[in-house]
Amino acid sequence: MEEKVLMDTGNSNIKTVGFWQSPWFNPKLIIGSILLLSVFLISNIGPIFWDKDMALVGSSPTNVVPLWVTEKPSGLLKDADPAHPLGTESNGRDMLAVLLVGTPRTLRIGLIGAGIGMLVGIILGFTAGLMGGWVDYVISTLCDTMVSMPGLAVLVVIAAYIPQMEVNNLAMIMAIFAWPLPARSIRAQILSMRERDFIKLALISGSSKIDIMFREIMPNLLPYLAASFVVTVSGVILASTGVETLGLGPTRIPTLGTTINGALRATAMFRGMWWWWGPPIVVLVIIFVGLFLINVGLDEIANPRLRGLKS
């Protein structure tokens, strides 16, 4: 088994930790990563084997039940068809194609929105934490006001004014409310880190502020940044599916949220068409649970105390 030196205490008492005891070998982190990775891979490899154009309106027969359904919930629905294994909905979209097209689009909104949000959050968080004074005051007051605003509601107003919603627009809009939380937590981390001895030592030894920022603070902040990014992605996907479910998402090419909106508007629940609203929800739940597990795992890595009481 691989052995790693984790900590040199300065004398002969060297603490060694086995591979399986490494904090990065965290079951929550690993399961979460596997969940997300499989959603990502399936939705990106799938289109090679399946016709993506069947996600468009009118490309398939309407109201076909999934393959394994033998008892139709209502007489108005069509019999199962091997050409549409997950069935089709009332606008003539093939559900398998909808999932394969919608999932990467939903993930993309999350990644772009959270990416921009994190970038702004890192810049503002670092500026506030390192500069202090009135700059810090202005930035943190702005963050506090933004955080206390019901983001989703404001995003709805913004989205309502955009005539032709596309994935990139939506991601950009989502970024408006994605930065305050990361900025706040990064600022708090930097404030607590500034007081630590190794930063003081670097200051005394004459390193420049930029040097300290990138070589001393950044590496120590990585687990927090990663956890913060994961939370932001989750928040952006949550907000964007919310906006889409309200009927303000991209309409021509579906995402997971617009599919749920379509199902709600066509009262799919009362017509027994669970394969319309069910699969997008299942995929979204896998994404959210995956992100959540990764976040909890990263948290446990960053705060060893959370790993449980072993005393």
Partner: protein, 336 residues
């Protein structure tokens, strides 16, 4: 009331006004960033989506006059702020004679009632579960069962809502799937009406509670573990106090303080998410009104609702902030 200093209250009041003002300003700016004049934009989009508008010519004129669109933008802005802060949001576009404020005041009690109850239940239960998860004295069996309450964490409330409608309202006829009360009942303090309201609120409330309970529990668990390492806990044990007393008066009492701050921070998110939950359940609150307004491209109602949601959340945070110094006397020493 010793903990509440004048400075603290004024500072919080400042935050309240700042938030509401910033929200109102965002709502003012967005339509003006869109190409063309906002009234034309509204009517144009309504025409595209095929919404029928009665007396559209008169409406355009009336709207131009109300916005004062011929005036400089600053005049428009101050006029808008004056109207907003005097709670005069004008008329609805889709159901014209009705004013935005009258429509909102009909929906507001539903949202506030259900959301407050659900948030409080979730906060209390979540913190209790989290505290018990971290506590050494919790029976093993209970400790093993507690994490079950966390399974719905991280799932959006409205998705859980859809699932529960399917399971408990359509598949099994246990609870109603939509609305705030049964039709044909006399609204008032009679048992039939109240029980109907309660029955209709079970599923929407449950979807909010089950989804939010886990994050309270997880954070509380972390806080309890930290508190458990403090010296005063060791002292309490050494003094031979009862475990019950140590748990409540020493552990929970201290660990819950950051949670109350967190309650203020998450209120906005919960309220935003609740908008979609109401839509799914066709619950007669602000969220469903917003959904209908979006369907009808009723921009004045959309803006009005969002302003009131921002206002209500800011007010709630203000109240939470004011109770905080009463619970944590240390807070008053932090000045500036």
């Amino acid at each position: 009331m010793k903990g509440l200093t004048k400075e603290y209250v004024l500072k919080r009041l400042g935050m309240l006004i700042l938030t509401v003002w910033l929200g109102a300003t965002i709502i003012f700016i967005i339509p003006r960033l869109a190409p063309g004049d906002p009234v034309e934009g509204m009517i144009g989009k309504m025409a595209i989506t095929g919404t029928h508008i009665e007396n559209s010519e008169e409406m355009i004129e009336a709207w131009r006059a109300r916005f004062g669109l011929d005036k400089p933008i600053l005049v428009q802005y101050f006029r808008y702020l004056y109207n907003t802060f005097t709670f005069n949001q004008g008329f609805s576009l889709s159901s014209f004679p009705a004013t935005v404020d009258s429509m909102i005041s009909r929906s507001l009690p539903w949202t506030i009632g259900l959301l407050t109850t659900a948030t409080l239940i979730s906060f209390i239960l979540g913190n209790l579960i989290g505290a018990l998860m971290a506590w050494r004295g919790t029976p093993k069996l209970v400790k093993a069962a507690l994490p079950i309450s966390l399974i719905f964490t991280s799932i959006p409330a409205f998705m859980l809502g859809i699932l529960m409608i399917y399971l408990f309202a359509i598949n099994r006829d246990w609870l109603p799937y939509a609305g705030g009360f049964d039709r044909g009942l006399t609204v008032g303090w009679n048992w039939q009406y109240i029980s109907s309201v309660l029955k209709h609120s079970v599923l929407p409330a449950l979807s909010v509670i089950l989804v939010t309970i886990g994050s309270w529990a997880l954070r509380m668990r972390g806080m309890m573990i930290t508190t458990d390492g403090e010296d005063f806990m060791i002292l309490a044990k050494a003094k031979g106090l009862s475990p019950w007393r140590i748990f409540w008066a020493y552990g929970v009492r201290n660990a819950i303080l950051p949670q109350i701050t967190a309650l203020g921070v998450t209120l906005g998110t919960i309220a935003g998410g609740f908008v979609v939950v109401e839509t799914v359940f066709a619950y007669p609150g602000l969220g469903y009104l917003l959904f209908e307004a979006i369907l009808n491209s009723d921009y004045t109602v959309i803006q009005g609702i969002v302003f009131y949601i921002i206002f209500a959340v800011a007010l709630a945070i203000f109240i939470v902030d004011l109770t905080y110094p009463l619970i944590d006397p240390r807070i008053t020493y932090k000045k500036g």
